[in-house]
Symmetry: C3
Subunit: 270 residues, 3 copies
């Protein structure tokens, strides 16, 4: 069955011609393809950032979409290249974890190594498999070539550790996973994780200091104030209404975040 939509998630940027050539290669093989950019501004070599972007976006695409993710600092080396078939999608990319946060939400049906050079460009650089390997493979998948044709089965794939939040009676402890373009700090704490907590009494702590109440939307606090809302990806997010939480609170990926229900809290609420 032919499929049209191919998404791209990369760290290639848009300053140069890299992404354009990937699209040229895809269209040369599969003229009906519809290429959709997720983002090309994953930080250089930031596999976790790419994995998070893919995991947050892929399920909004229709069934049959081919998701291509290339954040590939090991290009040219020994890491393998994969196509993964799930119940609803096809994923293509290097076997370095960039696909893994999307795949933990999916039912995997097949993993194949990309080894059949018939589906690559004729001449393959050692620095740009996005163009020479992954794009032509995605295009052939789009044209309906079965995953078995691309290479041998592989049992496991490289998986990035997903940091699970810890919950006690008093608090949920997690961390900052991603900082978006607005400076919102998205954590690993899914909103449902707080079920049973009285949200109005909760405070979000950063470096042992309460920094924000839990709110529904940004505008519930005055401009410039910190609020913790449920981000559109379903995770708690520390935000500043009309500003950048990352800047105001000097937040970084990996920073510890706690959500505490106020028992007899007195002096530390913001």
């Amino acid at each position: 069955m032919a499929m049209r939509i191919i998404t791209l998630t990369t760290d290639f940027g848009t300053k140069d011609w890299f992404v354009g050539t990937m699209k040229g290669v895809i269209l040369g093989i599969h003229p009906e393809a519809l290429v959709v950019d997720i983002t090309h501004d994953v930080s250089h070599g930031d596999i976790r950032g790419g994995a998070f972007a893919l995991a947050a976006s892929y399920p909004f695409f229709p069934r049959g979409t081919i998701h291509l993710a290339v954040v590939d600092p090991g290009v040219g080396g020994s890491r393998s290249a994969l196509v993964v078939q799930t119940a609803d999608y096809l994923f293509v990319g290097p076997d370095n974890g960039v696909l893994s946060w999307a795949l933990r939400q999916e039912k995997i049906k097949a993993i194949r190594k990309l080894e059949n050079e018939k589906f690559f460009l004729r001449s393959i650089s050692q620095t740009f498999h996005g163009r020479d390997v992954f794009s032509p493979v995605a295009a052939h998948l789009g044209k309906g070539v079965a995953v078995e044709k691309f290479g041998p089965a592989q049992k496991q794939l490289v998986t990035l550790l997903w940091p699970k939040p810890r919950r006690t009676r008093r608090e949920v402890a997690g961390e900052v996973l991603y900082i978006d373009r607005f400076g919102n700090a998205i954590t690993n704490i899914r909103s449902e994780f707080l079920d049973g907590f009285d949200r109005a009494s909760c405070r979000v702590f950063l470096r042992h200091k309460a920094v924000a109440p839990l709110k529904q939307f940004y505008g519930e606090v005055p401009a410039g104030q910190v609020a913790c809302v449920t981000s559109s990806s379903g995770f708690l997010e520390i935000a500043v209404n009309g500003g950048s939480a990352a800047e105001k609170l000097k937040l970084n990926v990996g920073d510890a975040v706690e959500v505490r229900r106020a028992l007899h809290q007195k002096s530390s609420s913001p």
Copy 2:
């Protein structure tokens, strides 16, 4: 009647996956849609910047185009969401003024509030109506759903003040409306506004100082020099040939600009 083209004007940036997910949602509903990015780099929450970008670009699209603009600092709050039908186009966005500078040039035929949840995503975040409300609505409009289906009629919409230039016998006084990526400062003075002035003798003033002559194109002044030309949007624009006027003259949105015809001007011409 089905329409294919949906334009996007947002402040979501391209660093993250936000725009990609909007396209996924649109294509899931309307597989024939052709989504065209106007820009996603409106400054964070800058409703005027978004309004200007939309007003400058929408008329270059064919009749029937659906223009979606989401600069939406009040997302999740009480602002309403709209579809506006004009003689030639459909506009979709929050009712906060972002559509208003385009609409002042259009003949409005219907304004409807977006309230029929049947046309939204099933689960709606409080932080990303671009994906959950506006994108699916645009897609359904593209498939031919009539505007009446989306919600009740609304009589007025929030309108940003359009600063009108003042003209006297001696001068036209306006202001900087927008600074583009080249550092060109686009004013609110339409070129026609100077009809009757002898352009060759005009000087453009900034903070009571003459800074530029009126020219036809950038290359009429030496590299690095200031010229005031008619921008491609039809407004006077202060530019530096091969450089940035905003930087050289420390220009900001809102700065007062005067175009004066030289009567007996002696010392202040540049």
Copy 3:
């Protein structure tokens, strides 16, 4: 014969609405067009940067693709505007050299000046021929209008000097042509130019200092170390594994680079 794919290489950026309006104009004339962005982030007025991006990307597109390149500091002035037909492609742009590095690899069949205003927008600005001249011309070409219709034949075109590397028995001397988003410095030395050299013994010199060995891929040197690899465009490129060579070595376009085979080299290898 109608052609669908139109590529865009410009310095218009993506902050504003400029590229969006070009797409609107194209789709208004040629609704079946498929516009593909190569890049819009060529540095402001950098004709060489645009020429390199186009030359590095155009051959990855299918035959019949229309390549539109607009880096046009002389817009509004006396430079002419061109369509160039080659064996496989059509190129459209200002006659200022931006097309010339792509065309030196192509067999030119016809050069025509764009003079027939029938194929332009009705009203033409003096500052944005990308929208008013080049986009409508590309769209009409895509619909199958023959190149002869656009204007008179022109014999020559403005050509940017292509700096040829010099080779002696001991070394190949070239220069940095382009710095990409990763900080990789792409030189004018094609990899084949070193045929006959023992690569393992070669060292790359910058300002008379050896800075890098020749390698196959980035990961062959430890993170943070300099390597010289064959870039995906076929030229030698100075890179830092996981970092920016331009930053680490303070590289600029035009910097001299030598590749020397080690004869009795002792102290200067990195």
